[in-house]
Amino acid sequence: MAVNLKRSSGEDSDGGKTSRRRMLGWLTGVGLFGSAGLSAVSNFVFIKPRATYGQPQRFSVGKPEDFPEGTRSVLGARGICIVREGTKLAAISTTCTHLGCTVASAETGFACPCHGSRFDPDGNVTGGPAPRPLPWFQVTLAPNGEIEVDKDIEITPGSYLTL
């Protein structure tokens, strides 16, 4: 080993060629920092679980016929309100943007029972402490003819699914 060190240190001085020592140093460095980097990335990725044990975010809510024209049906367990206007359909969240209470449907739109936030029928804030309007979720017509709501994907308020 001592011989090795001496020889490699001797060759280190001439700049042109990468010495054995340097090469090994690089390899070690790449290996160590590379795996450390990968671990760090994985750790960050794993902070957010890929699945939780709650109800799925993407679910089917039934056939379009289940929602007659001009009705607003609140699905309490799912936390959404299905709005049907003519041939247009949308899903509005019923979770208050203030502290997460479930808002109730009211004549003027939605009303939160906890701190009195008010929303209009499109989910825009009209009063109370709520900071943001109620989000709209993506609604698609699944190939089996059922309406699928994906709570992971928010869409711009006012965009409807046309049946």
Partner: protein, 604 residues
């Protein structure tokens, strides 16, 4: 050193890379991407295309809490097209779950509608398998230690090769259908219903308990057997009980494959409680013992008085009597030979024994089966016609024909069926016992049997000479000691103590002090020492036996002991004639109640 470090770190990097790749390059992600790509081609509108383009692979799950514990079924993560009718002709896993009218799916406007929506039912409720798994091996339950592999579809590496192919097929899923569809007439669970009928027809209920159906105590309780065991184990235990557990005493029933399948499906459907049951229904079943279901399942044979014997024969042969008993060529290897039943028992005894085996044989392990009285009468009528063959004259041949099954090849009492008999057959090699009894008593035991034990009266088969011949064969081949003259014991001719309550009470006190160690406090022969003793201490509550012996013999056995057994000679331990008289009075007093015979009147 440096080289090693460099290689080492590089190696670690590679391992990290592999782990990283595995974590982020799941097969299910590829499946989902395939689905998105193909669905985009099939998509008709731009919004549909845009929606598909926005979708990224992710873990799809259905959380179902209507069926027992909350189930998390992630099957649709790979089987993402399960509910997309456009993929019906694609290859698994991106394939539509087939629609089937037998599952209750129906067509509406030319489109199929599902009866069991996946969002409501999930997947594992019907299919079994490991719902949370994201990897084909684990989620399909191919893992050896997962108790519920995909029913009827997945066989495991460690399953017996000769059984494994029989365990495939979707019929096995009927076991899960029956968790909700408990109606016995339901067409979708025909195998469960058939299995339930077989459970009674092959007399499984005699030994096994299933809540709400039967209450046998000899075998394990099967109320939740479907939750505990896999298909292959159930199949194996029914097809060949000893192959899985060498000490199993379950008989081999020699059933046909389709019968075993029905039984396996039925057993697999026993999971403790059904999803469909309410508390009130369970309570009702508990109150009635499931009488409704049992009555609907057992179909009694209409007995025609003219054909009684023939129908009895059919019952005896069809209803698995020979799974335990021997009858001609058929031999279950557990219970006594019925081939000459008509000569060793009479119809009253047989009928009583059928109605309640313990009423004629207090320690019999035979279960009381649920035949109708008419069926029992027919079977009795058949059994009394069995006369066997004429007994051979030679002692050895007689022994091999009649005695060997219980007393064993070596005469040591360990015959093939001995372990199922109580009292255990006499060890004929014990010279102490054999030579201490006068020949007349031995001949009497052979020709008239020993009451309350499995030793039948052979008198109608063997005459005096034949009995003596077999005894001399036993003497020369097993006992191997010449008979000695028995010295008469000094015992009173009759009990010196008069029968009275006081005498019996004194006897009981003595009994608890002196005898309970072996004979047990209750006199049932199950005292703490009885475990180490063979022959076992006599069950003194066996009225048939106790009432068949006279006071003189009890005095002899107590005062001078029984040679060749653990019974000591109590006269050496200070018991007087009067003490023994009290004991005899006590033993007589606990055998007062006449037992048996209460059913026999029915067949007159």
């Amino acid at each position: 050193m440096r080289l090693a470090l460099a290689i080492g770190t590089f190696f670690i990097l590679v391992i990290h890379g592999i782990v990283f790749y595995n974590q982020f390059g799941h097969p299910w992600e590829r499946n989902q991407n395939t689905y998105f790509d193909q669905a985009k081609v099939l998509a008709k509108t731009d919004t549909e295309k845009a929606a598909l383009a926005a979708r990224r692979p992710r873990i799809e799950q259905i959380v179902v809490s209507n069926f027992g514990e909350t189930r998390v079924d992630r099957c649709t993560t790979c089987h993402i097209a399960a509910d997309d009718p456009r993929f019906s002709s694609h290859a698994e896993p991106v394939k539509t779950h087939p629609y089937s009218a037998t599952l209750g799916d129906y067509q509406k406007d030319g489109k199929w509608e599902r009866r069991h929506k996946f969002a409501e039912f999930g997947c594992t409720v019907c299919h079994d398998g490991q719902g949370r798994g994201l990897d084909a091996e684990y989620s399909h339950g191919r893992d050896e230690y997962w108790p519920d592999p995909l029913l009827g579809f997945t066989t495991q590496e460690n399953w017996r090769k000769d059984f494994a192919p029989k365990l495939k097929g979707k019929e096995y899923m009927e076991a899960n259908c029956a968790q909700c569809h408990t109606d016995t007439a339901f067409a979708g669970t025909a195998l469960v219903t058939r299995g339930r009928v077989l459970f009674f027809a092959t007399n499984c209920y005699g030994c096994h308990r299933i809540e709400g159906l039967s209450d046998g105590t000899i075998g394990p309780d099967l109320s939740d057997v479907g939750r505990k065991w896999k298909l292959d184990y159930l199949w194996g235990r029914i097809a060949d009980p000893k192959s899985i557990l060498a000490t199993s005493i379950m008989p081999k029933f020699n059933l046909k494959d389709e019968d075993i399948k029905a039984l396996v499906v039925f057993l697999k459907s026993r999971k403790g409680r059904n999803f469909a049951e309410t508390e009130i229904q369970r309570f009702k079943v508990k109150l009635t013992g499931g009488a409704e279901l049992v009555q609907a399942t057992i179909k009694p044979v209409q007995i025609n008085p003219k054909e009684m014997v023939k129908q009895g024969e059919k019952l005896v042969l069809d209803r698995a009597c020979t799974a335990c008993h021997k009858l001609g060529e058929r031999d279950g290897g557990i219970a006594p030979d019925l081939s000459q039943e008509g000569l060793i028992k009479d119809s009253e005894w047989i009928y009583d024994h059928f109605k309640n085996p313990k009423s004629t044989m207090p320690d019999s392990i035979m279960p009381a089966f649920r035949f109708t009285d008419d069926e029992f009468k027919a079977m009795t009528a058949y059994l009394v016609t069995l006369k066997g063959v004429t007994a051979p004259p030679a002692g050895e041949a007689i022994y091999k024909n009649y005695c060997l099954r219980c007393h064993g090849e070596k005469g040591d009492g360990h015959g093939p069926i001995a372990e199922h008999l109580d009292p255990y057959p006499r060890d004929l090699t014990k010279a102490g016992f054999m030579n201490s009894k006068p020949e007349a008593r031995l001949v009497n035991s052979v020709r008239n049997g020993v009451a309350g034990t499995s030793m039948p009266a052979w008198g109608k088969l063997l005459n005096e000479e034949q009995a003596k011949a077999v005894l001399s064969y036993v003497q020369s081949s097993f006992t191997k000691e010449p008979r000695r003259e028995v010295k008469p014991h000094a015992i009173p001719e009759k009990n010196p103590v008069a029968t009275s309550k006081e005498s019996a009470d004194r006897g009981e006190a003595l009994f608890v002090n002196r005898c309970a160690g072996c004979h047990g406090k209750k006199g049932d022969g199950k005292g703490p020492n009885s475990l180490d003793i063979l022959p076992k201490p006599r069950n003194l509550r066996n009225s048939f036996f106790v009432n068949s012996v006279d006071d003189k013999r009890l005095f002899d056995s107590i005062e001078y002991g029984v040679q060749g057994t653990a019974m000591p000679s109590w006269i050496d331990y200070g018991l007087t004639h009067n003490d023994v008289g009290d004991l005899v009075n006590f033993i007589r007093s606990i055998n007062q109640k006449p037992k048996g015979g209460q059913h026999a009147a029915a067949i007159q």
